[in-house]
Symmetry: C2
Subunit: 290 residues, 2 copies
């Protein structure tokens, strides 16, 4: 029997618990959450087999820590202190450099696996947990060589069993790239939402004029501030760089409009249409499918 | 038998043709397109009953003009010149002020109905036509009082038959509001796409790190430049205003980050979370369902 502990039973942790419970054989899933209501809800929703506390961590084979990145560093240290030498402790945070640096000299560093599952929705809490959320999704693993061999193997087998595709990356590169393809999207969406809300005091007017395009572009503005503010803080330098480039591109677009250069506007959009091909790449390559 | 002519058999016109053909009884759908391949394709896909040319317009009861807004004004004038006194000619453009002004003193103004169906996808051409695209979607009608009574009635019956919800608005207000809830979303998405593409020369890195959040936010950057450049041109003043406010909001967010005010960042996002309630309004209110 493999004892899997999931700490933080929101969208990310709850979905891990659910899939591991259903897919992995001979596994028992324990839930820990400082929010007692969430813990109770996770049990009722069938995300976990049973509730637990940090005092039970000595019997863990696998621990997945899925809490906001500002809380996870201290929590990971405590978890590593409490687990046995044979346990693997994974995080799931959207930033990787700070956590890797903070744990670099921890005596149980070899028990830690730095992971970032690229999956989610704009919702949060145990009720947001989704069956199959991780199927065909990428899990980015950082500094894999710093984790003990057999512990790498156990964690990666678990991720693979629930359908994930594994990719390896160094933490600094991870944080730089993820700022572009994830963090900036959230800011662009939040600020789009803000701009429209501020303008449209009479929101009834928005309701009927907004179509699926607006809905899609502003979707991420529903995301949890408690999750995202700490991500922006930990990845500040990279995120500010993406923001500067984004603002410069918007200002250039504005200049073209002001000058009446709609041929230039056309070309800007035509060049960016290449995103079609790039987005196709987000779908699972056939060769990668299980 | 009602003879419906659809001019421009792309996503918008093709979807109108398809639904009208399938839903409306005693109706024959004729297609006109300056692109002969598209016309042939529309026939093969079953979007239209038969091909036609502008010379056949004298037998039209309803004409729907669904071409880019820069081409539609001259085309609408020509169509109005050619149709009988008993035909109603609708447009489907995303801007309404210029077209209403341009046709204000046309001798057949009473035969014109200015419409903007709030529906679409990021794809284009006859193969992008979708069955049921307009079901439960809003069709914004401008200056309805300038259209002859019985012609209003015929057009609105057709839109209602394919499941659309009708809303009335004046053209200037339409263009001002639509700049916020549609046009700005497209620019934010195109520039997000541009920023990421420029940075990520090695696109393979994007493929695997980008998740559904990026995909959603950048979806509109696949849209047709031939459709969108003329929209931005016709709605230049309103769009530039939205763009200025959007850039100012992004710059404010950047300032908060630079100052390390992540509590401020949290509040910005928390305030914008209200978009959840607003987006719920985009779904069809139960009372409005057919």
């Amino acid at each position: 029997m493999t004892n899997v502990f999931v700490i933080g039973l929101g969208l990310i942790g709850g979905s891990f618990a659910l899939d591991i419970r259903e897919v992995c054989e001979e596994t028992r899933v324990y839930g820990i959450d400082r929010n007692e209501d969430h813990l109770e809800q996770a049990l009722e929703l069938g995300l976990i087999d049973q509730k637990a506390t940090v005092d039970d961590l000595d019997k863990a084979d696998v621990v997945i820590v899925a809490v906001p990145v500002n809380a996870s560093i201290d929590l990971l240290k405590e978890v590593l202190d409490r687990v046995s030498d044979n346990a693997v402790v994974c995080d799931a945070g959207s930033t990787k450099l700070q956590v890797c640096e903070a744990l670099a000299s921890h005596p149980k560093r070899r028990n830690f696996l730095a992971a970032h599952p690229i999956a989610g929705t704009e919702f949060s809490g145990p009720s947001a947990a989704l069956r199959g959320l991780y199927k065909d999704k990428v899990n980015i693993i950082c500094e894999v060589e710093k984790t003990a061999f057999k512990l790498q193997e156990r964690a990666l087998k678990l991720f693979s069993d629930i359908g994930m595709r594994i990719r390896y990356m160094d933490p600094a590169a991870h944080d730089r790239h993820i700022a572009y393809v994830s963090h900036l999207s959230h800011i662009s969406s939040f600020m789009l939402g803000k701009t429209v809300i501020e303008k449209e005091k009479n929101e009834r007017d928005i309701f009927d004029m907004a179509g699926s395009g607006f809905e899609s572009t502003v979707r991420l503005a529903k995301s949890s501030p408690a999750m995202w503010a700490p991500i922006f803080e930990q990845n500040k330098a990279n995120v500010m760089e993406t923001l500067d480039e984004y603002i410069a591109n918007l200002q250039h677009f504005r200049t073209l409009m002001e000058e009446g250069d709609f041929e230039g506007i056309f070309k800007e959009m035509e060049n960016t249409n290449r995103i079609k091909e790039i987005l196709k790449g987000i779908s699972v390559p056939a060769s990668d499918k299980k």
